[in-house]
C-alpha cells in the first residue's frame, strides 16, 4: 500500500496516531507533502464526509477523523513553502449570541477541517463584534454563523448589519446555517451562502472561496 493510501486509511479510521506516523514516514522518505495532502488526506476526508452524509458514521467518528487530519497536517505543513500550502481557506465559525446549541456547528467545523480549511471555532453565544474581531485577527475568508432557534436567527442578520455598518461587508464571505435557517432567510438577510446540511455547507464554502479567488 502506498504511503498516500495509508494516510487516507488513517483518516477514514479516525486514527490520530497512525496519521501522525504515516505523515512522519512521508516526510522521512522525502515524498512531496503537497501530494500527500491532496492524494492522501483529501481522499480520506472525502470518503469520511460521504460516510457521514449516509450516516454510516456519526459525529464522534467524524471528529476523530478531523483530529487525525489536523495532526497529519501539523506534520506535513511545515515541509511546504508558505506560498504553496494547499489550504482551502480560513473560516471563523460559531453559534450566534443567545444560542447555546453547538452540535450542528461542530459537525460543520469538523467537516471543514476534514476538507482542508483552517477553522477557528468561537463556540456558542458569540456576539456579533466577536465574529468580526476574530475574522480580522486571523485573516478569515469566511464567517460562518450557526443558529438553532427561530428566536436567535435574527443575530445572523445582526452580524451582517454590523459588518455593513463598519464598512467591512466585502471583506468576508458570510455563511449561515442551523435548524430553523432556510435558503429564503439567507437571501433575505444578505448572506453569501447557506447549507441545509453540514456537507452542503462545505460544498458551498468551497464554491464561494473559488469564486472569490477568481474575482480577485
Amino acid at each position: 500500500m502506498s504511503e498516500f493510501k495509508k494516510l487516507s486509511e488513517a483518516i477514514i479510521a479516525g486514527d490520530r496516531e497512525a496519521a501522525i506516523k504515516v505523515a512522519n514516514e512521508i516526510v522521512d522518505k522525502g515524498l512531496d507533502a503537497v501530494e500527500a495532502i491532496e492524494k492522501g488526506l483529501m481522499v480520506g476526508a472525502k470518503e469520511v464526509g460521504e460516510k457521514f452524509d449516509r450516516l454510516e458514521i456519526f459525529l464522534p467518528e467524524l471528529m476523530m477523523s478531523a483530529d487525525a487530519m489536523q495532526a497529519a497536517l501539523n506534520v506535513l505543513l511545515p515541509q511546504i513553502p508558505k506560498g504553496k500550502i494547499p489550504r482551502k481557506g480560513i473560516v471563523v465559525c460559531g453559534t450566534v449570541k443567545g444560542d447555546i446549541h453547538d452540535i450542528g456547528k461542530n459537525v460543520f467545523a469538523a467537516m471543514l477541517r476534514a476538507n482542508g480549511f483552517e477553522v477557528y471555532d468561537l463556540g456558542i453565544d458569540v456576539p456579533a463584534s466577536k465574529f468580526i474581531e476574530e475574522a480580522e485577527k486571523v485573516g478569515a475568508d469566511i464567517i460562518a454563523l450557526s443558529a438553532l432557534m427561530t428566536s436567535t436567527m435574527g443575530e445572523q442578520k445582526d452580524v451582517i448589519d454590523y459588518l455593513k455598518a463598519m464598512g467591512k461587508r466585502d471583506k468576508f464571505i458570510v455563511m449561515v446555517g442551523g435548524g430553523p435557517v432556510t435558503r429564503q432567510w439567507a437571501e433575505e438577510i444578505g448572506a453569501d451562502g447557506y447549507g441545509e446540511t453540514a456537507s452542503e455547507g462545505v460544498k458551498v464554502a468551497l464554491k464561494l472561496i473559488e469564486e472569490r479567488r477568481r474575482v480577485k
Binding site: 456519526f58 444560542d99 447555546i100 456558542i124 428566536s151 432556510t182
Partner: protein, 459 residues
C-alpha cells in the same frame, strides 16, 4: 429529595471537565452500554414488541447516566447523582398532573404499552414561527377549536412591531408577554378560556423573558405547562436553571423537561439515541424536578423524526419509560413535509403509531415542515395527529408495526427533499377559519387509506 440548591451546589463543585471531554465521554460510554446490554436496532421492526429490549434500554440508560451525569455549561462541571437518588426521584415524581381550568381542566396520566387509556393531546404549532400577531391569533383559535385538544402549543412570534426579536433583549421580553396575552385572547375567542398552554413559552429563550411573563397580569397560570430545555446532549446552564428556580419558587407543578437527542450526533446511531432519550428523563426529574417530559429525537441531517430509525427510537424509549416508571412522557413529532400534503399526514400517522401503542402518555403535535418556515402550520395536521392517536388506543405493538411498514414506503424516499406544502393563509380561509377544499380532500384521502390498512377512527 434532590433540591435545586443541591443541583446548584453540584454544578459548582462537581468534577471539572472541558465540554469536549464531556462530549467524548458521552459518546464512548454510550458505546460501552450498547455493547454490554446488546442493544440492537432492527430496521425490519420499527415498532418492536420486545419487552426485554425495552427493559435493557432502561437499565443501560440508568448505568449510562450514573456514569456521565449532566454537564453544566456555565461552570464546566459535571452534576452527578447516585443510584438511590435517581431511583428515589423516579419513585417520588408525580404519576398524574392537573392542567387547565374550569371545563377544560384535565388530569394527565401515564400509560403503558398497548394501554386503553386515551393519550394526552397537546396540539398546535410546536413553536413554529409565524409572521404576524394576526396569524398567531387565528392559528391558536383554530387549535383550541379542535375538540380533542387537551392543551395548546402556541406558535412563536418572531417580531415586535416589525422588529425581529433578539434573545435576552427587551424585544424578547415584550414578545413573550405578547405571546401569552394573545394566546389567552385566542382561547377566549374559541370558547375555551381554561385550556392550558403547555409550551410556555416558545418565544422565551432567556429566563428573564419567561420570569417576567410569569407576572399574573399577563395570563400565565399555575395550571399551564412550562418547557425547560435540556441542551443536547444532557447539558444545562444557569439560565435554564433560573427558569426552574422561578417556577419552583412559585410552586408551579407543570415543569417539563424537553429534550431532543440528536441521531447522528454525539448519540451516534439509533441505539445511542434511544438510551440518551431515556437518560433525559432521569436528568429531568433530578435537575429540573420535572413533573412531565417531552421527547423529540431528531435527525441530524433532516431535522425531523419520521425516519425508520427514529420511529424505532420513539417506540423503544416510550416502552422503556412506561414499563419501568410511572413518569408522564409525551412525544413531539417533527415532519419533513409541510402542511396540506399527503406526505405530512403519512409521517404523522407513522410517528403516532410509534408513540401511542408503545406507552407514551401523550403527544405534542406538531412541528410541520420541521417547524422552520414562517406560517407553515395549520390546525388540520394537529387535528389529524390527535384523531390517529385516539384511533390506535389499545392497539398491539405488533399491529402498529405492520401498519407502519405499509406507511414507510409512501414517504421515506422523499425525506431528503420533502414538499414544503402551503402556508396557513393558503390552506385556510382567514376570515372564517375554515380549511380549503384542497386540505379537506387530502385529509379525507389519507384517512381513508389508513382505514383500509387497519385504523378505526373513533372521533
Amino acid at each position: 429529595m434532590i433540591t435545586l440548591l443541591d443541583v446548584v451546589e453540584r454544578a459548582l463543585t462537581g468534577r471539572s471537565c472541558y465540554e469536549r471531554e464531556y462530549n467524548n465521554v458521552f459518546s464512548s460510554k454510550l458505546k460501552e452500554v450498547i455493547k454490554e446490554y446488546g442493544i440492537k436496532y432492527d430496521p425490519n421492526t420499527p415498532i418492536p414488541s420486545d419487552n426485554t429490549l425495552a427493559d435493557d434500554v432502561f437499565q443501560a440508560a440508568l448505568d449510562f447516566y450514573l456514569d456521565v451525569g449532566t454537564y453544566c455549561l456555565d461552570t464546566g462541571r459535571i452534576i452527578k447523582f447516585n443510584e438511590s437518588e435517581i431511583k428515589d426521584a423516579l419513585k417520588t415524581s408525580p404519576s398524574q398532573l392537573l392542567f387547565g381550568e374550569g371545563m377544560d381542566a384535565k388530569i394527565m396520566v401515564p400509560r403503558t404499552p398497548e394501554s386503553k387509556i386515551s393519550p394526552w393531546c397537546f396540539l398546535g404549532a410546536g413553536g413554529a414561527p409565524v409572521s404576524s400577531e394576526e396569524v398567531f391569533l387565528k392559528l391558536v383559535e383554530g387549535y383550541a377549536s379542535i375538540d380533542i385538544a387537551n392543551s395548546i402549543t402556541t406558535p412563536a412570534l418572531t417580531s415586535v412591531r416589525g422588529m425581529r426579536i433578539r434573545p435576552g433583549s427587551p424585544l424578547e421580553i415584550l414578545g413573550t408577554i405578547r405571546t401569552i396575552v394573545l394566546a389567552r385572547e385566542a382561547l377566549r375567542r374559541a370558547g375555551r378560556p381554561g385550556l392550558p398552554i403547555m409550551n410556555a413559552l416558545a418565544t422565551a429563550t432567556a429566563a428573564v423573558s419567561l420570569n417576567t411573563a410569569l407576572h399574573p397580569n399577563y395570563g400565565l397560570r399555575e395550571t399551564d405547562g412550562y418547557l425547560i430545555a435540556i441542551t443536547a446532549e444532557l447539558k444545562t446552564s444557569f439560565d435554564l436553571l433560573n427558569k426552574v428556580c422561578a417556577l419552583q419558587s412559585l410552586g408551579y407543578g407543570g415543569i417539563c423537561s424537553e429534550y431532543g437527542p440528536v441521531y447522528g450526533g454525539y448519540c451516534g446511531g439509533p441505539e445511542g439515541t434511544v438510551i440518551a432519550a431515556v437518560a433525559g428523563h432521569f436528568m429531568g426529574v433530578l435537575v429540573y424536578r420535572a413533573g412531565w417530559h417531552l421527547i423529540f429525537p431528531i435527525h441530524i441531517n433532516y431535522g425531523c423524526n419520521s425516519t425508520p430509525e427514529l420511529l424505532w427510537v420513539t417506540s423503544v424509549y416510550a416502552q422503556a419509560i412506561s414499563r419501568n416508571t410511572h413518569l408522564l412522557s409525551l412525544h413531539l413529532n417533527y415532519t419533513a413535509a409541510g402542511p396540506c400534503t399527503e406526505m405530512c399526514l403519512y409521517e404523522i400517522a407513522a410517528q403516532r403509531l410509534a408513540a401511542i401503542p408503545s406507552g407514551a402518555s401523550g403527544i405534542e403535535s406538531l412541528g410541520a415542515a420541521k417547524a422552520t418556515h414562517e406560517d407553515y402550520t395549520t390546525p388540520m395536521e394537529p387535528r389529524f395527529a390527535a384523531e390517529v392517536a385516539h384511533a390506535i388506543v389499545g392497539m398491539r405493538r405488533s399491529d402498529a408495526n405492520e401498519i407502519v411498514k405499509k406507511l414507510l414506503p409512501k414517504y421515506t424516499n422523499k425525506i431528503a427533499n420533502p414538499p414544503l406544502g402551503f402556508k396557513y393563509q393558503e390552506c385556510y380561509d382567514t376570515l372564517t377559519g375554515k380549511p380549503s377544499q384542497r386540505c379537506l380532500e387530502i385529509y379525507s384521502k389519507v384517512k381513508k387509506e389508513l382505514e383500509d390498512i387497519g385504523l378505526e377512527f373513533k372521533l
